[in-house]
Every structure is written in C-alpha cells, then in structure tokens.
Symmetry: C2
Subunit: 645 residues, 2 copies
C-alpha cells in the first residue's frame, strides 16, 4: 500500500543531470558497456523520482532498464518511426528516466513524478514520447498490433516494440492477442517479456505459474527467443538477429531480476516460495535509498573508469517537500480484514478469491487462517469472477477481490452473467475513487457505479468510516440474497464521520451525520463524506447551515428516506467520488424527480466531469474542486456568490 | 439474422415422443450403436424445436449431439453428481432434446423452445437439468473450475464436463482459465472441444485460425486427447481411458462436422474458404426441414432394423402457430450498410473491425469493397477494441462491431482505456435491446448505456428509424472528436416514426414526433419510439393527449431542449429499452432535477427492472409491459386509473 498512499523519503536526494547522459552516450566504448552505464544512471534517476514522489515501482523499472536503455541507444530508429512502449506500465519511472536522458522528455519533469502536470504514475500519451496509455494489464500487444496495421495501411515501414510483464501474461487478452498476430504474420511486432519472476505479491511461480512459457508462445505461432535481460551484449546480438525474422511476430523472453542493480532489492535475494517482494511498489526508506544510491554510484564510477572517463556529476537537491499528511487518518482495510475473518469464522461457506493483490486487499490474515478457502487466481480477473460463479453454483459464498478499476470493468460481462444466476457473490473493490491519484487514470476507479450498478439485483455499498465496513460486509453476506459490490477506499483519510450509536444499515437509507437548514450534501465513502463534513464546517463559517447525509448505498435509495430529506431541505447537493454521469448522484436525483415530492429542492450534482489527472492526492482533489474548499466554492457559486456572510 | 428475427417453418412438424427414447435406451445392442440412434432421434427433435421456434442453432447442436448423447447414456453418473454443461450454449436445443429424452426436462417443454416460460435460447439454470448460465462465450471452463473447487471443499467426488466450441477458443478467457486448472491439477475437469471447424460466419481457419490446437493445450499443461466426435465407439473407449487420468485437467478435441446428420447441412459439403455456413443459426426453409426429417428418419429406421427393433413412432403436430409479423417493418441494418459504405468512400482513414459477425452486422458489402480496410478479429472483443485503439493512435478512424451485449461489456475496460487517449473510435453494437428475445439474456443487450455511457467523452446514440442511421453515423465520424457508441436494433420493426424534413442531429436535443397536451414520452431507438407512438395512439383513444419525443442521445441531453419540453408538459415519461437503472431515463430525470425548471412535471421512468426472460418478441414485450398496451396501462395507472375516458 506504500505505493498508493505515498511515503516521501526524508533525506537529501540525488539525480544525474541530462548533460551527463549526453556525455556518456558519446563515450568511446562497446555499445553493451555504454548501455549498461546508461541504465545504471537511469536507475539513479528512477530512484530519485520514486523517492521524491513517495511512490512508484522500483522492482519493475530496474528489471527492464537494461533492455529499455539498449533499445533507445541503438535499436529504435526515431527517424524511421520505430516505437517502444510498455504494456504493464509499472516501469514508467524507468522509461521516463531514459526518455529524459534522450532529450525526448523535458528534463524538469524529472522532479515531477506523480505530480499534477508532471509525469503520471502510469503512461499517458499526454506525456512527450509516450506511445499509448497503458497500465491496465494485457492490452499492449493488441495496441501494438493496431499500430502495425496502421503503419501497413499508411505504407510506413516501422517496427513496434512492446514490453510486457511476466505476471501480466496471466491476463487472457495476452493470449487472445497472439492469434491474429501470427495468422497475419505481423513481423514488425516484437514483444519483450520482462521475465523478472515476481508479480505484485509473490513469485509468479507461486501466484500462478506460467509453466512452459516458450512452448506456449511457440504453440501460438510466434518466433521465440530467450535471453539474459541484463546481458547487454547478448541483447544487442539478439536484436540484430531478430531483424532478419520478418515473417512472424517475435517474442523475446528476457530473464531478468526484479529490482536489478541494488543487491538488497533484487528478487534473487529472497526465498521466492515464502517471501513477498518488498520493492514492487512504494518508496524505499531513507536509509535504503541512500544505500541504493551508494551502490549504484560506485558501479557507475567503476564503469566510467574502465572506459577511461571522468566520474559522474550528481546533483543534490536536499530533502523533498513533504505533502500535508493528516494525523490519525481513518483506514478501512484493517476493519475489512477483521470483518472478513469474523465472517469466515462464522460461515464455512465463505470462500475468498483474489487476483494478485493479497497484500493491498488486506487478505494476508485470511490466507493464513483459512488457506483451504483462499483461491489465489493471479492477474486473471475474468477467470476469477467466473470461477466465483461456479463456486456459488456449487453452494459456496465467494468474496471476490481486486482493485475496483479492474474488478468492475475487466470481468464486466462475467459479473452480469453470474448475476443472471441469482447467486450470492460479494465483489470487493479496493483503491476506489479518485485518490490515491498518483497511479493515474488506469488505477483511479471512478466508473464502477455506472459499470456494474445497473445490474438489477446487484447492490453496491461504500462505507464512510471503519465502523461501517463490517456492518456493510455482513449485510452483503447475510441480508442480501444476490450479488453485491463493496467499494472501499484504500487511502487513509482523516474524517469527522461518526455513525450514531446503534446504527444498522437499512437498504437505501442514508444517515444524517450533520443537520443543516440551508441545504444538505449527500455523499458516500470515506473521502467524500469527510470532505463534505469539512465543507459544511467552512460553509458554517460563511453563515450557511449545510447538513451532510452519508448514503452508503451507491445504486439504491429508499424513496421515503429521500422524500423526508428532500421535503426539509431547500438545496440538495449530491457528491460523487466518481464520474458524475452514472454516479450515485444521478441515481438520487432521478429518484427525486420520480417522487411525489414537490416543490423539489434546488439540486446540484458534483462529481468528475473528465478523466482525472495523476498527481498528489491533495493537489488533485483541489484541482477537481472536490476538497472542502472546492466544495464550499461550488456550493456558494450555485447559491449565487453573495449568499452567506 | 434469421436466428434473431424468427422465421417459423410453415409445414407439418414431427417429433419423437419420450417413450420412444425409453424404448431405444433399453434395446439390446452395443452402446455405440444405441447412442448413435439416440443422437439421431435427438436430432429430429432438435429440428422440430428450431423449426417451431423459427430460430436456433442447428449446426452446433448437430455437431455435438453424438457426444452429448453418449455422455448422458453412459458417462455421467447422476447419483454421483457428475455434471455436463456447454460453454458455448448455441447447442442448447440439442442438449434440451437429450435432457427431455432422459426424463430430466418435462416432455411438454419440447414445444416451447424460445417461448415465454419455455426453453430459453441459451442455457439458464431456471431450466431443469441446466447447470450454469452460458452463451456468453469463454466462461465455461472457469465456471467448471469453480464447480470443481466447490466439490473439493465439500468433499464431493464428482466430475465436471464442459463443452466448448472451436471458434469460442478465440476468447482470451479460455486461455486465462487453463492456467490454474493445470497448476491446481483439476483432474475432475474434462473439456470437450466441439471442433466442427465453422463459427458464426465462415470456417474457423478463415476467420481466425486456431493453429496448432493440440500443441496449445499441451503447452498449457493439459492432458490432450483427439477423437472423431462422431465415432461413438472411439468416444466410449476414450472416455473410459480418461477416467484413469486424474492428475491433470483433460481436453478432448473432438473433430466433428457442423450440421452432422443431414447431408446438405454438413459443413464438409461446402467450400470452407469461400462460403458461409448457412445453418449456423435460424430455421431451415420448409422444404429443407422436410428433406432433413426424411434423411434422419431413414437412418433411424435402418439402425433400428439392424438392432432387430420396431420402426420409430413419430408424432405429427401440424403447422406451427405463426406469430404476428408486421408488414413492411423498418430495418436499420441496410441503412447502416449504405451509410458505412458511403463514409468509407469519402474517408480513406476509416477502418472496420469485426468480431465474427460480418453477416449480422451488415458488413459483407464493406468487406467486399474495402478488403484492405476490413479487419476480421474473430471472437476476440478485447483484442479487437485494443487493436482499434492502436489504429486510432496510428492515425486511422476505427469502426468497431459486435453485438451490443458483448461489445459494451467484454472489452469494457479496453473501451475506457482507449477513451483516455481521446481518439475517435466508433463502436457499433447490433442486437441492442430486449428484442429479439429468443436468444435470452446472454444476448439481450439492456445494459450498455450504464456499462459505457459513464465514460466522460463517449457519446452514445441510437436511431429511431432507418433515415436517422446515416445521420448519426456521420455525426460520430465527423462532428464528434472522441469515442462514440452507435446502438442499433437488429430486429425489423414497424414504426410510425418519421423525422421532420431537413432534420439534422444536434447533440443532446430530441425531436418531437408527436405533440401532446397531457404528457410527453421520451424514448430512443426503433422499438421503443415505435411503441411509444403506438401507445400515444391508444391513449388518444382514451382521451389523453400524449406526445412522443425521440431522443437519440443516450447519455446526453441538452439542458435548454429539456427545459423547453418540461416547461410545457405536465407529465414526463421516460422509456428505456434497457434496465431503468443506469438508462437514458435516469440521465434525463437527473438533468431535470438539476435544471431550474420548476414546477417539475410529474415523472414516470419505464424500463426493465429485472433480467429479461427469453421468449417470442411480442410475448416478452407484453410480459414486460413495454408494448403499446402495456405502456398505455402503466401511464394510465400512473395518472390515477380513472383519468381519460
């Protein structure tokens, strides 16, 4: 979760200026040695960016950087229009470091990873040199095929290089995409598998073994090559060889080491059957950062000396700015873990399914206590959801986990298919909402109410505080016979929300957390209820009395509850941590229009109107006017600027 | 399209009563011969059901029936709890015939294929003996794995047999599902590939060749067997052998003949490189039906004689009831084909992608005129959509086709990912809405507005008459810079809708097709606008003056247009060919609540509230009260029963 929340490294930070890369590029020496040096310099800058941002994927950037450096130094011909992009997208910091070194990206972006108007957590074509929006796994080969087809139609002789992860190969779309690439002999396409042996949680072999990977690609009609992904001379020779293979798409299975380049970060250093890989995401601790810098710098010095060149010049930028962290933020996931364990102890029919997010979804204790009822599915959400369907048909109650952005969309048809069977399945989506904003739009889940909320018997709920998590999980497991979706914010967030004593969930009914004479804000979830309460405080200081009602039911509203509320409020504001279109607010306002309540209060619907930007949580919420200040301003503007004191 | 629309065979129809199957089951003879006989009798009843229903999949039922018969006669042990189901679901009529023969399904259901409260077009667990809801391709193996896991948890020693198609293997979920089945050694699972070599349109080898199928399954760690799927002795021996393979999941690649059992329907009779398979879906013509019955009956007689048994007794039921067909129905697809061709002639950047529905989506002329700009993707919607993303990044304008139910949900995340790139891509979904109702809920697309309508820059449109099709396609291609979704009804439908002379689409604005004093119905699309107009006629006869506005914008409404309409109507009715939740009506009513229009008209939202049933179009629309009579009744009830004459 370090990745998601941010944990800025409090020590002086160091980076290599672009001029040094320029110098190294022109050194007299074998390409393989220059590229190795270049990759290490990019590792330093990757570490700098991630330490400064407080989050990012070190392991995956480091495993791919030798390959990415070599491709950019020699294999890609920019005049010809060759392109490279990464399907997994986790390795964006490493790629950014190389693109900055190459002069493709402006140098000052180095200081703005995961910041507003900086470099998004996952690739976006709004960034110079980026070819495709990636980070939702499994799409890259298909996109590469589309680029190849476009080139063929336009008569452009260009090559397309796509990097994938190895865990990513668990996604069905990968295999779906291989078929026509072979049938249509897309020889312009080269896929490089960064086979670093670890995925988000554990070793790939433990999570969901890929088996005979070479055999699989061969059976799909691809030309297969295997190489040590850190042996730059071997890589150079291989890419030269592959230029001669033009009648088939090509895959390079590059055996790499996750975290390569810093001894204590390397995947080979851990017992892959037991341990988690610690540097998949998130920033290192200050002392880890400094040790890593030291180790990489020493190697760079040795390499430069061997080439007869001057030592490297590194810039020291002092301690990074620390974003405003709140004291004692509320956290939903510890409450979820506890509630799940308690439910599992009561109910032998409860089975947990996960898609390579055992840590982020708070499932480690469950997996330890109930290993026989824990199914780790790997990054295979469609298969996971349909397996849950089968388990439910077989008499069990599956609780299905992934990040909301993936869970509500990748297996969207599978969730509907299960729903048509009327079985009880609880889908639990983490990382819900616009924050954390660092990872960018592939991970910001602001579309799940519309994506699955329209399924008639599926009820969506979102708790506003830790105390509500267990109540809602229990409601899904015991009181609702059909499918449900529990939408959970992953970000720790300070909140003033407190449920009344003895509160119990009642389908479609909200709870008024704060009374108000001039208007009422209806919101759901940890972040938006907190901001609504904070906005109400600000409005009170303006002389405006605004109430806040938490409505944890995202696609249901009780007609009587709503009519009661609407009858006594002159202004109703709905607030979505979601696109406004298709969100909870639209559902509430439509219900209000259909009701017999007349006159209707004046209504304002607040939610996202555009694909959200990547950035630090506070700056993104402010930019979207979804923080307390923004809400206050929007509500005052709606009322007519001069209302209140 | 015959499948979708229904085309009842006007001749006497014949079926084999269950008692005859009982007699044959107990004949003294080798299992293989009895099973072959049984399968042919089931073929007769399959033909009967499809001819009577006017639609259904003959080819796929016939290719699988020898295997399905043998499994039910000998391999499945019902006391033990072994189960069989078909993932593709197309072969439901054949399976129903066998389940009726076995006494699992009531015999009278034989007469109610694709009728309300009868046998749905695709499998549903509401039907006796059906194990899982299938028909959305690619989910079956995953579901089977879930059942195996449930059995293991419960300590039940049961086997699970899943049949898939061969074209179905193009779905990525298939390959996604193979991995953990092998890793977890799910030896209880046997997958049978009905390898009949044809998919919806053409030969599998032409659409998207599967290449080395055995090699693929082997590389995924499965035990692979290959067999002639019509050689019942070989099948019997193979299944006996497979009982001994318990350490791995097993796949049987059964080489079969699509349409097996009727010479002129068999896939082997056609030139697979050029011709379409004519009997994939839809009913045969009357003379074809009679020739087929004659051929199968003759073979049954020979087989019975060889076993020394009496000839078969067949029931004659006379001509089937013909549903009310309207004269001169409007058809959207010819207009779509013309508009697409015209656009392609003007725009060299237009590229068409299709997922094995070239016939149903009206794409044959395009594929003939512009073969270099036609990409047949096979049943691989995720790959298709992400390829479209790549083509758009490469400067082209992709127009992407499938049935709406699949296109809006299977590649849901891929559509969003493309949208975040801001490129212009037109998604065209056919078979939209609750009718045709014969295929059942896997194909009834009543969820696409919610599924993709919330994507901020994606505009969804649906034409109400053929004249509007081209206008809206051109709007999507020329006037809108981002992604769009053109929702098309496939069913021919009579309509009184006529656009005013010189009408041009204007984003978010509807067109008032009929004025009304007492209220206004807002609807979209061929079917609902037609029914709204017809309901308005009925209400007029009741003395109630109801207007009808067609709003082709499914996720946009112009505030001024809506305010103008709302200000002059006392009652507003929204009408969705979609779930009410997340439909166009919810969007319109929320916009109304947010508007400054006060007093608000009384509002009624009509749409689907539950997963729709399978049945004949007229009876399903009536059951859902979505036809003119139903709408009239609901509007009158809303007004208070005694309103009007």
């Amino acid at each position: 979760m370090g990745d998601l929340i941010g944990n800025v490294v409090e020590t002086s930070l160091y980076y290599v200026p672009r001029a040094e890369f320029r110098r190294v590029r022109t050194l007299n020496g074998p390409l393989a040695e220059v590229a190795a040096l270049y990759a290490d310099m990019a590792r330093l800058n990757t570490l700098y960016m991630i330490a400064r941002a407080g989050s990012g994927h070190i392991g995956s950037s480091f495993s791919s950087l030798d390959i990415v450096s070599l491709l950019h130094l020699s294999e890609l011909d920019p005049r010809r229009g060759d392109v490279f992009f990464s399907s997994k997208g986790h390795d964006a910091p490493g790629l950014y470091a190389v693109l900055i070194a190459q002069g493709i990206l402006p140098e000052d972006k180095l200081h703005r990873l995961r910041r507003l108007d900086g470099l998004p957590g996952h690739p976006d074509i709004g960034t110079e040199g980026l070819v495709a929006n990636t980070g939702s796994l499994g799409m890259g080969i298909s996109k590469g095929k589309g680029l190849v087809r476009a080139n063929r139609l336009a008569g452009r002789d260009r090559r397309v290089f796509v990097m994938t992860g190895d865990g990513e190969l668990q996604e069905g779309q990968i295999w779906e995409s291989l078929v026509s690439a072979a049938n249509d002999r897309l020889g312009e396409l080269t896929v490089i598998v960064d086979h670093n042996k670890f995925q988000s949680d554990y070793a790939v072999a433990r999570t969901s073994s890929l088996g005979d990977l070479e055999g699989k690609f061969r059976a799909f009609g691809w030309h297969v090559a295997r190489v040590d992904g850190h042996d730059l001379a071997a890589l150079e020779a291989l890419f030269a060889d592959l230029r001669r293979v033009t009648d088939r798409p090509k895959v390079v299975i590059a055996d790499t080491v996750k975290g390569k380049g810093v001894s204590f970060m390397e995947g080979t250093a851990i017992d892959s059957d037991v341990e988690m890989f610690r540097f998949h995401s998130g920033a290192p601790k200050a002392e880890e950062y400094l040790r890593a810098v030291e180790e990489i710098e020493a190697r760079i010095s040795r390499r430069l000396a061997a080439l007869g060149a001057m030592p490297i010049r590194v810039e020291n930028v002092g301690k990074p700015e620390v974003p405003p962290f709140a004291a004692n933020p509320a956290r939903l996931f510890p409450a979820y873990t506890d509630a799940l364990l308690a439910a599992a102890a009561r109910r032998p029919d409860l089975v947990v399914l996960d898609a390579d997010l055992v840590l982020d979804m708070g499932l480690m204790p469950f997996a330890e206590c109930f290993p026989e009822r824990f199914v780790e599915c790997g990054i295979a959400e469609q298969d996971m959801v349909s397996q849950a369907g089968g388990l439910a048909l077989g008499g069990y109650t599956p609780v299905v986990h992934s990040f909301s952005c993936f869970l509500s969309t990748r297996p969207n048809e599978q969730i509907y298919n299960n729903a048509t069977e009327g079985t009880r399945i609880v889908y639990v989506g983490g990382l819900s909402g616009v924050v954390p904003a660092g990872p960018g739009h592939s991970h910001q889940s602001v579309r799940e109410i519309s994506a699955v909320g329209g399924i008639p018997n599926l009820v969506m709920v979102e708790p506003c505080c830790p105390a509500e998590v267990g109540m809602l999980l229990d409601w899904c497991l015991a009181e609702h016979a059909g499918p449900s979706f529990l939408r959970l914010a992953s970000v720790p967030y300070p909140t003033a929300a407190r449920l009344p004593a003895g509160h119990r969930p009642k389908l479609g009914c909200g709870v008024e957390l704060r009374p108000g004479r001039d208007g009422t804000i209806i919101a759901a979830g940890l972040v938006m209820v907190a901001e609504a309460l904070a906005a109400a405080e600000l409005l009170a200081a303006d002389g405006l009395s605004f109430g806040v009602a938490s409505l944890p039911w995202l696609n249901r509203v009780d007609a009587a509850w709503l009519a009661g509320l609407a009858a006594r409020t002159p202004v109703l504001v709905t607030l979505d941590n979601h696109f406004r279109a298709g969100g909870q607010g639209e559902m509430v306002l439509a219900a209000l229009a259909r009701s017999e309540v007349r006159p209707l209060p004046r209504c304002l619907a607040i939610g996202l109107e555009e694909v959200p930007p990547s950035g630090r949580n506070d700056e993104v919420l402010a930019a979207l006017a979804l923080d307390a200040n923004g809400l206050r301003a929007r509500i005052r503007a709606f009322l007519g600027g001069d209302r209140g004191r």
